[in-house]
Assembly symmetry: C2
Homo-oligomer: 157 residues x 2
DNA sequence: GTTGTAATGTTACAACATTACATTATTTTC
DNA sequence: GAAAATAATGTAATGTTGTAACATTACAAC
């Protein structure tokens, strides 16, 4: 299944703001700045990367704790994914989409840190779940993170 | 597919020793101790857990650095898996098996830290790979980590 | 404007991991 | 078997990621 992906940063920011309004969440300047910063970088970033970039781009110091809190907010609002496997953070590719979010399957390039987000097909998802249910196991986090090298980095050598 | 799983600790240790001999790897006392310790605990452990357990079980202090080095060794020898998502380590369930290792699918219980290792079916694996190959992405780490609650912990409430 | 709640700041620290260099143990070579 | 080479382990310092506890500031509701 192919989705319409994020267009420009402004559009995504406006969509985010609108969604927050509708849900009664505060889309503060700093939260918006962090999201904007992450949209500009086209790759996953650590919390400390974000802290440094914030300082650079907005000429204002921000503490690590604040970054983590803003990331928590953005994750709960479903604007950002945490990559557990690399302790990094990336904007969700589907902020401007309106369909329900499926199990995200994240292809993480270990060379350039770009992340491609594809949704796992319904069939595949149900097979995986059946495979798991056989053990009586109850899934919590539904997110597949797969590490490798993206097509651009393969071509570089 | 169901495999014969590890039997008792002694048997696994002997199998490990034999495999090291065949490959010219040194299965030192401390490496063996660490593996034994991990076999005794029926759950995943952090490097610092292992350090503490080592002290308790062998009445000898060992540094974090050494633990990490021994874990590296055990991982390369394919005796141990690293759970990226929780920064913990667990003995591979297939040390005494002789078939080629398939993509491990690890069901990690977030309550008791027990890990069930099931091998992903060939069909499912090829579907996943096809899904990924469509993006030109080249997989590196082939390990699926799935978090949830195991059947025993569900029954406890 | 006062008050209550949410957001952010500050400080301290916990947990996980690596680097650099020293020392010890084992193997190899002669 | 002694010297040299290599592998394993020890020690100290530090880097990275993340959280806890509490203070302060900003904003919304009344």
């Amino acid at each position: 299944m192919k989705h319409i992906l994020n267009k420009n940063t402004q559009e995504v920011l406006q969509a985010a703001q609108k969604q927050c309004q509708q849900q009664g969440l505060r889309f503060t300047t700093k939260r918006s700045n962090v999201l904007q910063l992450m949209l500009n970088e086209n790759k996953s970033l650590s919390a400390y990367d974000i802290m440094a970039e914030y300082k650079t781009q907005y000429n204002q110091s921000i503490s690590a704790v604040s970054v983590y809190r803003m990331l928590d907010f953005l994750i709960h609002a479903q604007f950002v994914h945490k990559l557990i496997s690399s302790s990094q953070y990336i904007v969700c590719s589907h902020i401007t989409c309106h369909h329900a979010h499926e199990i995200p399957q994240l292809l993480i390039c270990d060379t350039c840190h770009q992340v491609e987000e594809i949704s796992i097909g319904k069939l595949l998802a149900s097979e995986l779940e059946a495979n798991i249910a056989a053990s009586g196991f109850k899934l919590q986090r539904q997110q597949l993170e797969l590490h490798g090298v993206c097509i651009s980095c393969q071509n570089l050598h």
